[in-house]
């Protein structure tokens, strides 16, 4: 089988998603056998961008003209474009303040008005600019998810999606429910599972790093949290950590 030509890169992000891939020590040799990494600046020299790719795996949100330029050229060159990680899918941490402050103010807070500010706009998911064929969520995604993705791409398909909230796996692991038993601010009911409820399993609430689950009952979750004495502002701040602009009235 001809190895797939793959591009792996990041836009506005922390490289965690790409690193997750490099952290698959055991699987890496097999993975490298399936892929020809034509463009992977994090780990390779001699990258070629003007090629045709079987797949482009892109981490990060779009927040600068350079991001956009890279994204467009990858979209044009790749048969399958994968939004890899929460930032690429929902905007992620970089976008958390999108609905409450304007980009220019943020830039000024950091750079002062001493010099010319870098060009940057509100970080947005890839899908705001290009069509996306597949998605892997998580901040960072689970190793097994990226392995599943690569294996599926090599087989000419995509991995089937899981569609349940964090609570489902959390309960199945016999964790203590932090929302019910400790009245903590857990976002498990409205957040996409697949992480095997990592955080609640260590006794830490789900911070929502995988973005909304399908048909999240956001309004009810908000009510649950308000009932437990959290302020509306705090809840909104927490929910928008990985995805700005939830619809707080949504029930289905």
């Amino acid at each position: 089988m001809r190895p797939m030509k793959v591009a792996i890169t990041g836009l506005t992000a922390c490289s965690g998603c790409q690193l997750t891939l490099l952290n698959c020590e055991d699987e890496l040799p097999e993975l490298l056998g399936l892929c020809e990494l034509v463009y992977f600046p994090l780990a390779e020299s001699g990258n070629v961008l003007d090629a045709q790719f079987d797949a482009a795996i892109v981490e990060g949100a779009v927040s600068t003209p350079k991001d956009l330029e890279l994204l467009f050229s990858l979209r044009n060159a790749a048969r399958v474009l994968v939004a890899y990680g929460t930032c690429a899918l929902f905007g992620g941490v970089a976008a958390m303040n999108n609905t409450i402050s304007c980009r220019r103010d943020l830039l000024q807070t950091v750079f002062g008005d001493a010099v010319q500010l870098p060009e940057s706009f509100a970080p947005a998911p890839l899908a705001n600019y290009v069509s996306v064929d597949a998605a892997v969520t998580g901040c960072p995604p689970e190793k097994q998810e990226i392995m599943e993705l690569v294996a599926a791409l090599a087989a000419g398909t995509l991995p089937p999606a899981r569609c349940y909230p964090v609570c489902t796996e959390c309960r199945s692991r016999e964790n203590l429910c932090l929302l019910l038993e400790k009245r903590e601010l857990c976002l498990g009911p409205v957040v996409q599972g697949g992480c095997n409820a990592r955080c609640p399993a260590t006794g830490i609430v789900c911070e929502g790093c995988r973005g909304p689950v399908r048909e999240a009952n956001v309004a009810q979750e908000l009510e649950l949290l308000l009932e437990r004495g959290f302020g509306r502002e705090e809840v909104e701040r927490r929910m928008s950590r990985f995805k700005p602009g939830w619809n707080y009235g949504q029930r289905r």
Binding site: L37, A94, G112, P118, P140
Partner: protein, 423 residues
């Protein structure tokens, strides 16, 4: 006739960067180092967030360094709010720092530097040219990862460490398993120095001004910054000593410490009274002449020695944790107050400083993060120019290859450095 050579993107390092060499004929006029990662603006994003959220958000500044960022942020917030933690918590945190050191050095040495030594493009080719070496390196990296994942609940952006305590403490079974893993990785880490003491095919560079935290035997309790041949200053006064400057072409800032371009990282630490574990101390003694007072080309060797040290130290921490037994997690009640706190840790790449202020409700009013790469950037720019000048007249590709290798000696982490801070 002026010409410009550009190396873009810089590869096999974390983040997006480029280098431009401006030449007049064959004379090198100027070298420009650009860190072009998209601005992440963390210091601005954190304003208005509650103290408990700060460490959880700031670790996303950089995946590679997420553990040390999270630990440093926790220490800074705890410093501000006057929170004490238990010994188990402190040990677990330090264990994670050491594990971060192991996995980070292993990643950098085996995946990013080794290809230079063997003249290949990257990991993929490495897998076919030197599969055994790569495997050995990955095994060391994996041992670090396993510790991070088990102790932190997740490898990148750890979840288990939190303000004032831990989600859960490790049980004996887990600790014993981690000990096993680390012991298995030790021999390879002990051998690594052989690979990375290979001399560089390019000329000597200016002597660095090393900077590291003190005391060196208490990674979580550093209170002082020490500069070689300079005065030692308390961490909380860092703003009076570290100066930062915006340069138009780069999205990161250049910093100077007491007017000098400081060098931080493994080599700096080994130059400033390191407190090494036995095996690492032996290695250090063997290589002393290649390390002490040497330029940054020796940094990779220093990393290899530190990798061994970190494993030994982690083993010791685990022994102590086993002795103490698990601790029932009970997070202290934390009451917000208006305060400022600072903390610093030695990250794999060097000194990392966090500082935060909170209002009476516990909402963040100021956030400041100084990363090792930001600290190193001045020295890096200086060395690039020096090297380019020293190689004047050489073939362009030879020069660019050498410059890229020099950059990898510093092991810069651009993601971290491009966040910038309030002036």
């Amino acid at each position: 006739m002026g010409s410009v050579v550009e190396i873009a993107p810089l590869t096999r390092l974390e983040g997006h960067g480029s280098v431009r060499i401006y030449r007049e004929g064959c004379r090198v006029e100027r070298v420009e180092l650009n860190f072009i990662d998209s601005p992440r603006l963390f210091e601005a994003l954190l304003i208005g967030k509650s103290f408990a959220e700060v460490p959880e958000i700031i670790c996303r500044i950089c995946a590679l360094c997420s553990t040390v960022h999270k630990v440093t942020a926790l220490l800074a917030v705890e410093d501000a709010l006057g929170i004490e933690v238990s010994e188990v918590t402190a040990l677990t945190r330090e264990l994670m720092l050491q594990a971060g050191m192991i996995q980070d050095h292993a990643l950098h040495l085996y995946c990013l530097v080794l290809p230079d030594l063997l003249g290949v493009r990257g990991v993929a080719e490495l897998a076919s040219v030197a599969p055994e070496l790569l495997k050995a390196g990955l095994a060391v990296k994996k041992a670090g990862n396993t510790v991070l994942e088990t102790a932190g609940g997740r490898l990148i952006h750890p979840v288990n460490i939190c303000l004032g305590g831990l989600g859960r403490s490790l049980n004996k079974k887990e600790l014993v398993r981690l000990k096993d893993e680390l012991q298995q990785a030790l021999p390879a880490a002990q051998e690594a120095h052989r690979l990375f003491s290979t001399p560089f095919p390019f000329p000597e560079l200016p002597e660095p001004a090393f900077l590291a935290l003190q005391p060196s035997d208490r990674p979580l309790g550093a209170r002082l910054c020490r500069m070689a041949d300079g005065p030692t200053f308390p961490l909380r006064d860092y703003r009076q000593h570290v100066e930062e400057r915006v340069v138009g072409y780069s999205n990161a800032k250049l910093s100077t410490v007491q007017g000098k371009e400081a060098t931080v990282g493994a080599l700096a630490r080994l130059n400033l009274d390191p407190d090494l574990e036995p095996l690492a101390a032996q290695l250090f003694a063997t290589h002393k002449r290649e390390l002490v007072g040497k330029d940054v080309r020796s940094n990779n060797l220093a990393q290899a020695i530190e990798m061994c040290h970190a494993i030994e130290r982690a083993l010791r921490l685990i022994d102590r944790l086993i002795e103490l037994g698990p601790q029932r997690a009970s997070a202290p009640a934390i009451s917000p107050r208006a305060a400022t706190g600072s903390a610093a840790c030695e990250a794999p790449r060097g000194t990392l400083i966090h500082s935060y202020s909170f209002d009476a409700q516990g909402l963040c009013t100021m956030a400041d993060v100084i990363t090792p790469t930001a600290l190193n950037q001045g020295a890096l720019a200086r060395d690039l120019l020096a090297l380019a000048c020293a190689m004047e007249g050489e073939e362009t590709t030879r020069m660019t290859t050498a410059l890229e290798r020099l950059i990898r000696c510093y092991d810069p982490c651009i993601s971290c450095s491009v966040h910038l801070l309030t002036l």
